[in-house]
Symmetry: C2
Subunit: 324 residues, 2 copies
């Protein structure tokens, strides 16, 4: 049977109140009493029921994490950053995905109302910002990772998309490329617009193909451009996956990378290192973004005010052979 606070109190010959005080390290307990209680706790192997503590205190000491998918290439790093931070603070981490559309969202909202967690770290699933804003208004502490340029009304952690785009362009320009093709991500993403503008601040962006962050999208975009006879000496893809697609299309068309055409991606996922040629890319500090978001949420839960304007973490250009 489960050992309860009542068992400890009985065995130690004190009240439950006193046991509670000892467990929670409150002052005002006689040293020898506290010692005796601790002995009994150790002997019985007593651990307070998290459910009961949560109910009595009105908080669950648990953080929720909502993500669109767990299989995206950089999600593992991000999640590890969040989990490490949350665990170090002795909080639990409740994980949710929105894989199954509206149904998932409904279920998730239920968990919120059920007070299953005290606060939420979220990588925004598509079209849920309104929903999240409502939850935030209703009092749920939220920190958003990667706002996609949507600039929400609550704290968020973002990366330097504008500057990242600019750094890609500078690198291409400095290595003598002047006619880039830009393969974008979904155009309604703010991060896509920012990467675009940053890039455009350095290099002309006459040639633009609209991709969708998939390998296939990157491949098709480049295939079409090649077929159209357009001339370009480099490709800036808005993420690594579509850069991989671009690489495939160039390879299939007999163009040499980087000799004929240089390629730069964005993200620095594991595949970037392993593909041939290895991909030059703008690295996002994914793990650090997870850590930072978790830390912000925890300090908010701890009562410290957290700024509403986004916390910005820097990207870093990683130079590999696809654009030396």
């Amino acid at each position: 049977m489960r050992v309860t606070i009542a068992d400890v109190a009985r065995a130690a010959g004190v009240s439950k109140t006193t046991v509670s005080r000892v467990v929670n390290g409150k002052a005002d307990v006689d040293r020898s009493t506290a010692y005796r209680v601790r002995e009994v706790i150790a002997g019985l192997g007593y651990v307070p029921s998290s459910g009961a503590v949560g109910l009595a205190r009105g908080s669950s000491r648990t953080v929720g994490m909502l993500v669109p998918s767990l299989t995206w290439p950089w999600m593992g790093e991000l999640l590890q950053g969040v989990v490490d931070t949350v665990e170090a603070a002795d909080y639990g981490l409740l994980l949710f995905t929105c894989n199954r559309g509206a149904e998932s969202v409904r279920r998730f909202t239920g968990q919120v109302s059920a007070r299953a967690f005290d606060g939420l770290v979220v990588v925004e699933p598509e079209n849920t910002l309104g929903h999240l804003t409502a939850l935030h208004r209703a009092g749920l502490p939220i920190v958003l990772i990667d706002d996609r340029g949507h600039h929400p009304a609550f704290p968020s952690v973002v990366t330097t998309n504008y500057e990242g785009g600019a750094s890609a362009a500078r690198h291409l320009r400095d290595s003598g490329r002047t006619r880039p093709l830009v393969v974008t991500g979904p155009q309604d993403f703010g991060c896509v617009r920012d990467r675009m503008r940053g890039f455009g601040s350095v290099l002309p962006t006459g040639l633009v193909a609209h991709g969708d962050f998939t390998e296939r999208g990157g491949r098709l975009a480049v295939e079409q451009l090649l077929a159209s006879g357009a001339e370009f000496d480099s490709v800036f893809a808005h993420n690594d996956i579509s850069a991989v697609g671009a690489l495939r299309a160039l390879h299939a068309a007999g163009r040499r990378v980087p000799d004929d055409i240089a390629v730069v991606g964005f993200d620095d996922i594991p595949v970037a290192r392993h593909i041939e040629p290895p991909l030059t890319t703008v690295r996002q500090p994914t793990r650090q973004m997870g850590e930072t978001a978790a830390r912000m949420l925890l300090s908010h839960l701890g009562g410290t005010a957290v700024p509403d304007e986004p916390v910005v973490l820097p990207t870093e250009l990683i130079v590999r052979r696809s654009a030396p």
Copy 2:
């Protein structure tokens, strides 16, 4: 303020008992009463507190998941399988890692005692089997994914490591390779021994280099063998990461893949598709393993007996250019 069952009862003019019955779909409630209560619930937006329900019922309707790391290449798929299954059953998923050794384990055990979750899906972190066995003996329902050949005393989901090794060997043999080099994983892993034996049941394994499941390990192993002047016409690496290392070493030494030497890996992680040449590999049904494990745990929690002997899911040989 939070809406409680008392608020609903008051507004509907019934007792909390009746509200509880309606919420939980018990029979023996007058149709019109039930209707009225449901109206009030909808109007007030009442959702039962999961903490209070858990305390009263003695279960948390939450499943724990313990993994060694979230950044392993196949972990995302596995986790997605677990999360989807758990969410579909209206359970929560509490995530733990053992990144920080003993400290993590201690913390984790605390959560177990605190009854934060009803059962556990676990990918075994190194050297925790004894610990897990103890928890299982103490009454915690556990399902292990990938037993590493340790054959624990509780339910588990494994893949056909022996047959996977054999299928790799058959494929190499059928394409005319007769002198393979086997690059193993850590030798104390049961799965490594099984892959070894399965492979050896088809092809002679005169040449064995002991790797450690890392890219560097695979590279060093092949470099040493090449330096020793040993002759081999193929490499079977016990996982894809070390196959990537092997590929690098072969490439650096000027050996052509697959013309001179064919390479087969194990796992089928994303990089396998993207590396040059694309890697022939023994695919593990990672996502399905996650789903299966979660389903087993849930049915155990639901009261259905679950077999103690491992549930075995089949591997599949994926043929790509590194060993056509």
